[in-house]
């Protein structure tokens, strides 16, 4: 069996190892897709409403090697929503001393 199908056995072994690794790291893997959207929403919100930098500067400032699919700045409410890697996250400006904070639930995108 092993002698007849060495490639298939290797492939199955590799898959098993990958599944085992993914199971071991499931907590990290589950959270991972949220990082880029949360980072972008929070840091853009602070760049714009705490540091009061121009919008185009803040867009460049939050750019990372993982691309964002969307970033929406609801200027009337000082609320920023970003989407990337299938995850949507929002940050809200709360006040002059508090600055911005990520919201537990993301706002819908328009």
């Amino acid at each position: 069996m092993i002698r007849r199908r060495p490639l298939r056995i290797l492939l199955v072994l590799g898959m098993l190892l990958l599944v085992a690794w993914a199971w071991q790291n499931r907590v990290h893997l589950q959270a991972f897709p949220g990082i880029i959207a949360a980072y972008s929403a929070k840091e853009y919100c602070s760049c714009r409403y705490v540091s009061q930098q121009p919008a185009d500067y803040c867009l460049g400032y939050v750019e990372q090697y993982v691309p964002l699919s969307e970033l929406f700045d609801d200027a009337a409410h000082k609320r920023v929503t970003a989407r990337g890697l299938g995850s949507r996250q929002s940050a809200q400006w709360l006040g002059a001393r508090q600055g911005c904070q990520l919201l537990p639930l993301a706002e819908p995108l328009p």
């Binding site: 790291n25 949360a38 009061q52 400032y61 904070q101």
Partner: protein, 373 residues
């Protein structure tokens, strides 16, 4: 008779006026910094060409200073900004926040609100899971918790990324407390933003829930005349002591002057001298990594240019007493006590080109006077 009379008057004048007149002779900022811009010189040009090279926002490579400010003995002698950052911009301090958290704690320490050798759990009950960890251990980043401090290059398992953006963001101190220990408290240094946020949560237990929300302002910022500070919190209301403090460069320099003058602000000893001494004492069990000779030495939540354990000073061209608050992407507040220099640098360095040593060398060449023995 008149001699004795004069002498008595002189003695009286001396005993009352002399301590005051020392403070009088010193420069301090009011609403604005006293300013004496240094004349152009070759040394200043060399500093500027290092700190402010032509900026490429496409590649984001090289040294990218947003602000550079030099205070000499309480007087602003140099300041420059790179657009869109200005003198009014409350810039992100990133991990410099940790050292400013330590200065905030220093005021509470002076009021007798906590002890360095008390268990963290006395002030932050969820830390009962780690009963041996003392406040001083956290200030040395020596909690012994199995923490992973990596930013963008290892995001999957980075504790700090998870804390700030995903699993920990609701309650960063609780997220940290849930980590297991993999060393004895106080046994080894491991840089941890989690340790800093547990300190930020412990501050609530020290000063009381009511005073907490305004404490950094009432204890530190307002006495120093800092008006631009913003300190973001997690969803549990705890200051993100590790990362999210903002203020303009001139305001950050006020903290530098406070530290340069051993915790004194005008006539008031705002931070006990012993506290500043603790900030500036290398963590006893710190062992420099041979592969990272430029890494500053951890003190009590401040960074030191100390030669320890047979290694050279991290910044060879700066005095051994130099200490600093340092943050991600090139943020720095450097204090050279003997030269009476305070340097603020805000930056957006996205690669490793910037060298603390080079900046300090060039600033000294441009601004240090001969030190009086």
């Amino acid at each position: 008779m008149s001699f004795f009379h004069g002498c008595a008057r002189w003695a009286l004048a001396c005993s009352f006026a002399f301590p005051g007149s020392m403070a009088w002779a010193q420069s301090w900022p009011d609403a604005q910094w006293p300013s004496e811009p240094a004349p152009r010189s070759a040394a200043l040009s060399a500093l500027e060409s290092y700190a402010f090279p032509a900026r490429d926002d496409t590649t984001r490579s090289g040294v990218r200073s947003d602000a550079l400010l030099v205070i000499r003995d309480g007087v602003l002698v140099y300041e420059r900004y790179a657009a869109p950052t200005t003198a009014a911009t409350p810039h992100l301090t990133w991990s410099m926040a940790k050292s400013l958290l330590a200065s905030t704690l220093g005021v509470a320490y002076g009021r007798g609100l906590f002890r360095l050798d008390a268990p963290v759990a006395d002030y932050y009950p969820p830390f009962a899971a780690h009963p041996q960890v003392k406040v001083g251990h956290l200030l040395n980043w020596a909690s012994g918790l199995a923490w992973q401090e990596d930013y963008e290059y290892a995001p999957l398992k980075s504790s700090v990324v998870a804390m700030l953006y995903t699993r920990g963001r609701g309650d960063m101190a609780a997220f940290t407390a849930a980590h297991v220990a993999d060393a004895e408290p106080g046994a080894r240094f491991r840089y941890s933003s989690g340790d800093s946020n547990v300190l930020a949560a412990a501050l609530r237990g020290m000063v009381g829930a009511e005073a907490y929300a305004d404490y950094p302002w009432s204890a530190l910022f307002e006495p120093l005349g800092i008006q631009s500070a913003v300190w973001e919190r997690d969803a549990a209301g705890t200051f993100v002591g590790s990362s999210y403090l903002y203020m303009n460069a001139r305001d950050l320099a006020r903290v530098g002057l406070l530290m340069q003058r051993d915790g004194r602000w005008r006539e008031q000893q705002l931070l006990p001298k012993a506290w500043v001494e603790f900030n500036r004492t290398p963590f006893a069990n710190y062992r420099p990594e041979a592969s990272k000779p430029d890494d500053a030495v951890p003190g009590g939540h401040w960074w030191l240019n100390a030669a320890v354990a047979g290694a050279r000073k991290p910044w060879p061209d700066a005095p051994g007493e130099t200490f600093a608050a340092l943050g991600h992407w090139g943020q720095g507040l450097y204090i050279l006590p003997r030269e009476k220099l305070v340097i603020v640098r805000y930056a957006d360095d996205r690669d490793a080109s910037f060298q603390h040593n080079q900046l300090l060398k060039l600033v000294q060449a441009a601004f240090a006077r001969e030190v009086q023995p």
